[in-house]
Amino acid sequence: MSKLRFFWEQSWLLLVSSLVFGVLLAIADTAWAPRIARNEVEKFTRLAGGMLPEAKRFEPLASKIPVDAGKGKTVQVEVYRAVDDSGRRVGWAFVCEGSGFADKIKLVVAADAGFEKLAGFGVLSSNETPGFGDKITIPGGFYQKQFVGAPAGTLTLVKTGDAERIDGEIVAISGATVTSQAVVDILNRYVSAVRAALQEQGLLTKE
């Protein structure tokens, strides 16, 4: 019995503090969790909404779409349908990711209602080199602009070319070919898979 007492004398502070901090942290978490979740959603809607100006709401599809993410892994992609006030479908948006020059790149990609043309992409998170790869994050920069209206099929990256012309050829950022290529690769992998799946589910029919 005295052993227990000795233990308690030595350790009560730790035990009590653990309890108190545990409770306090849980409360803080509970209080802020919704806001944190909303921040993420906001970021998505802000980016996707920027690309699809008519969209008022983004509705997730009932089932996720499997995409082969390379290295034998398959990811389930949640695809959102963008609808305007009247409930009309104005486009599609989803999150995709792949490895860039330094670290993972996470993108939001949007396409038009028929999934024929891309509406552009936005960067959720990337860790590319400042001054090089991070030029992909510049909203409205020459690189991002090339994707607005580009065909929702296979894109190719070229080193030199006309960046103004909107077509399947994407001109790389000079000195950051790897990042440029990574973005194109991510899009190629996801866009065709998503598009195929939507078509299969018959969701791309004219409304």
Binding site: F21, D29, K71, G100
Partner: protein
Amino acid sequence: MDTFETLLLGFLGIVIVNNLVFTKFLGTCPYLGVSGRIDMAFGMGCAVTFVLALAGTLTWLIDYFVLIPYGLNVLRYVCFILVIAGAVQLVEMYVRKFFPVLYDSFGIFLPLITTNCAILGMCLFINLWGIDNLPETVVLSVGAGLGFTLAICIMAGIRENLELADVPAALRGAPITLITAGLLTLAFMGFAGMIR
């Protein structure tokens, strides 16, 4: 075979290409402090590698089997650091008591490691990168430790030379070590993008 390749590439990547010290600024304090002599640096490196392997595994287990399933993300930091600090303290006492020789060559570095961000940082990165299996966790942890060892040994070699160099008085010690560290990261950029 495929998993083996993934593990190998991940390992090489974390040792050389995404070296904690050169690219993530982790463990800078001992990198600057304990790199005066090569033998010390090597001892420190071994200790970090050991603790990283231990901490990486323990925290991954807690994360994967307790924190994530029960939605207790909020407790991640507290749990991680408690586990690291407790385990390190325990190992230190144990080694000191039962393996005094081992303690002298690398155990003495153990207390230094609790407050070293390479450990906690790597545990957090493993979570951040979404590593979802134990083998990869262990390989990455050990690799990160070896990467640290490499970096600190190189630095120690350079510093042993610098000690006898005509460095301006104001720059002796930490400043020139930092500048050297900067040039080292520049050199190791050569490995950039080799493995990702």
